[in-house]
Symmetry: C2
Subunit: 139 residues, 2 copies
DNA sequence: ATTGACGTTTACGTAAACGTCAATATACTG
DNA sequence: CAGTATATTGACGTTTACGTAAACGTCAAT
């Protein structure tokens, strides 16, 4: 695995545009190093981006994602106040995640029910179709 | 439980503004009946809104939520083509939900790890604090 | 008769999260 | 060394999901 990445490598790997990646940097979610003008992304930058996208799939706003990303970094540094703040944030995020998990379970059950009713109805229609089809063929 | 609801009743119950509810109607996610000018929401309208908000908590865009809501309605009606379309949509939604579930599991594990390292570090700092505190008291 | 609570439509404003140029710089490639 | 590919910043546009304000109707209570 490579040590560093270009912006377009990351864009291709994760299916996002370079514009988006630069935008994330502008919003303080990434801070790659530079070689002259060009951005150079380390493995940890890549991991940060990966986590960022996971947050996006969960529907979190970028600002919230940034806070969570900072928990990863400074999770074992700093003063007690900072650590306790991080802990509170962890608990908040966990509550939100567990709410989402409940929502997902409920939604999945609903989908099951919809699908089975749908399939049953299709079976029934296909049975009808065969009958009338044969009737039409005989006519 | 009531048969019908006003717009502000629903707004209060779910903690959203009436403006938002009217906006959802504008975007075809709700279609309450009217008494003259006023909107009157049935129990099924209320359920629709509830499902809508669940979709929101999962970070889905309104247009996608609308499609899912329509699956609930027409899940057992219509032609085979429509039914099969619904079934495809069900599968798509299920895949998305399962991706989100995986993301949640991963995020929860990460949070656990962050929290425990955080707590360990706090314990350590507190132990230090006690020592130096006593030294200061003796001075 | 008016005040207040609730409702309505219409119109404009706004924050978030990018997309889409344009102009420019740098690097490799034949 | 011209051409192509890739990078940069900056400015402006766009979509989504509402907020906010204006201007008005309706009904009950004072």
């Amino acid at each position: 695995m490579q040590e560093t990445f270009t912006i377009s490598e990351l864009g291709n790997e994760f299916g996002i545009t370079t514009r988006a990646i630069r935008f994330y940097e502008d919003k303080q979610l990434l801070s790659p190093s530079r070689q002259g003008n060009r951005r150079v992304y380390s493995r940890s930058d890549r991991t940060r981006l990966k986590l960022l996208l996971r947050g996006k799939r969960l529907g979190w706003p970028l600002e919230e994602i940034r806070d969570v990303l900072n928990m990863y970094d400074q999770g074992h540094e700093g003063e007690i106040q900072q650590l306790e703040y991080t802990c509170r944030k962890v608990r908040e995020s966990r509550e939100q995640l567990e709410q989402q998990r409940r929502d997902i379970e409920a939604a999945l059950q609903d989908l099951d029910s919809i699908e089975s009713r749908c399939l049953a109805r299709i079976d029934l229609l296909i049975a009808d179709e065969k009958e009338t089809g044969q009737a039409e063929n005989r006519a």
